[in-house]
């Protein structure tokens, strides 16, 4: 009787949240999966089922393949820049926890992560600007000719990686700092007694112990970088000023197919590819964690 009453309260209490969840999460996710197997032009009423034809077309679509390659380069570029930098910076900040400036270090590394994307991207647009930007002026001081950073297809990818890494770093440092705080102090004392130097302790004690955290931060960084959109939209306009055309990324390609070419089913199949990438990354993370737990 009492148990029944509690059950009724629990269900009634969770029902509104569950309903919203079903409405704005589960239903659209299911709908994405369903639409990806249909041909749907916004303007026409019927949506014929066409199986995997959308996916077959995707992998011959030059624009999509470019977007996929660009996005992957950006995502792995951000990963390679962010993770080692974050590990070292977090180690140094942790070492100087008692310093008067520790709060300043933490805050200023973290600020780029919380500021809105577009204003922050504006700051970098100025830095990279070919005529006004300080980057070119700096390079010229060393005799390096000015570059059209934001209009060159290779350089503009690098610019996006720099911007995304600048923003991702704060999060990674923060998570690493939590990790450092949870490391067992006794191990470090033991290593110290054995005469290990600070760098040796970092490399042979901290880094291996922090492996699960490295894995977690890497996956989170990769996933968010695969969803890059605003950064490319603001930084990489093409020569006619069309935003984001210079460096085509997955989300941009998807939105163009849906809202410019009116091919919603096709755009949904791109979303499914994005989902597949995210799922694979997550599974890799779980797989590696479990392996580590066994050994």
């Amino acid at each position: 009787m009492l148990q029944r009453k509690r059950w009724r309260f629990a269900i009634l209490a969770i029902l509104p949240t569950l309903a919203i969840f079903a409405w704005v999460r589960m239903y659209p996710i299911a709908e994405t999966l369903r639409l990806s197997l249909h041909e749907w032009n916004i303007l026409s009423k019927n949506k014929p089922f066409i199986g995997l034809a959308n996916f077959r077309e995707l992998f011959q679509d030059q624009l999509f393949l470019t977007a996929l390659v660009n996005t992957s380069i950006i995502a792995f570029g951000v990963l390679i820049v962010t993770i080692p930098t974050a590990l070292v910076i977090a180690a140094l900040i942790h070492h100087r926890t008692r310093s008067r400036f520790a709060g300043f270090y933490e805050t200023s590394v973290f600020i780029p992560h919380v500021v809105s994307l577009v204003p922050a991207a504006m700051a970098w647009k100025w830095i990279f600007d070919a005529k006004l930007g300080p980057l070119n002026a700096l390079l010229q001081m060393f005799g390096i000719p000015a570059q059209a950073w934001l209009f060159d297809p290779v350089l503009s990818v690098i610019c996006i990686i720099v911007l995304c890494s600048w923003q991702a770093l704060g999060y990674a440092v923060l998570i690493y700092l939590v990790g450092f705080k949870n490391l067992p102090v006794s191990l470090f004392e033991a290593a110290k007694l054995d005469g290990a130097s600070g760098i040796q302790r970092f490399w042979h004690v901290s880094v291996p112990l922090l492996k699960p955290i490295t894995l977690y931060v890497s996956v989170v960084t990769l996933i968010s970088a695969f969803n890059v959109y605003a950064q490319a939209f603001v930084l990489a306009s093409d020569s006619q000023g069309a935003p984001g055309r210079q460096v085509r990324v997955l989300v941009l390609d998807m939105l163009e197919n849906s809202f410019r070419n009116y091919r919603v089913g096709y755009a949904a199949s791109e979303a499914v590819v994005l989902l597949a990438i995210v799922l694979v990354l997550t599974l890799i993370q779980f797989g590696l964690l479990r392996e580590k737990g066994r050994s």
Binding site: A13, I20, P28, T32, I89, S108, M122, A137, L193
Partner: protein
Amino acid sequence: MTDAAMSRQASAKSGGRMKTHGKLIDLCIDVFLFGFSLLMILPLVFLVSNAFKTPQEMLSWPPRIIPSDPTLENFRSVLADTPLPRWIFNSIAFASLSMVAIVATSAIAGYVLAKFRFRSLNIIFILILATAIVPFEVYMIPLYFQAQMLGILNSIWGLLLGYLVMSFGIFLIRQNVMHSIPDELLEAARIDGAGELWIFWRIVLPLLRGALGALAVLAFFQAWTSFAWPMIVTTTRESYTIEVGLALFQTGFTVDLGRLSAASAAVLVPSITLFVILRRNFVQGVASTGLKE
């Protein structure tokens, strides 16, 4: 002899030389970290300073942090050309409503999922868990058509549709309830004849104040910085959020960095100030995302 005593003796033996050596290293680390921290915020510092520069001074090298001839012309011309206050209002209204919705739904769902053990609830939890890893970008197109059917495109309600719930918020509260609210406390209240709703309102919520604060800050900033969703939901100048407005403003004009900086600075300064004030809440919230495992 204890370990601690031994280590004390060891360090005493190597003497004062080690100590000064260590101090020197610490000083180097401080100098490095200080420089690195400054570099991290330098782009934003320059953004704010550029907002006050005349077009001539924008060209000068090296760039000055404090403009020699500060002007408000950039701000005046941005305000004349764009409904910037309107965009800021839209963003604040959207972020506040989203914050309220997320805190409310997460608090109740997190509590129920933590303290009531029924099989039906397990199924609900697994459903929420399964959708948590799906990025927003994956399902935003069908969600757009839902907003269209409701006739709420180009409005704050349309924006809100995408940001009503937050899976991570539910996990955060659930975790907090499990760790900080003992079953005995709830049982004692039940024996005293308290109703379930009363328990939630009078016992659980006050104990969750810290976690709810962290979640509120996180939710507000999440909506405030959102880009892709507002980009597709709003298509009229009056309904843009500040992010979308700024991004389109920079394409609509020939690149005028002075005015772009002014508009950006007008957004950045309040949000950074807010962040520095709420830093503890924020850091606590973000840090707990990493503690899930």
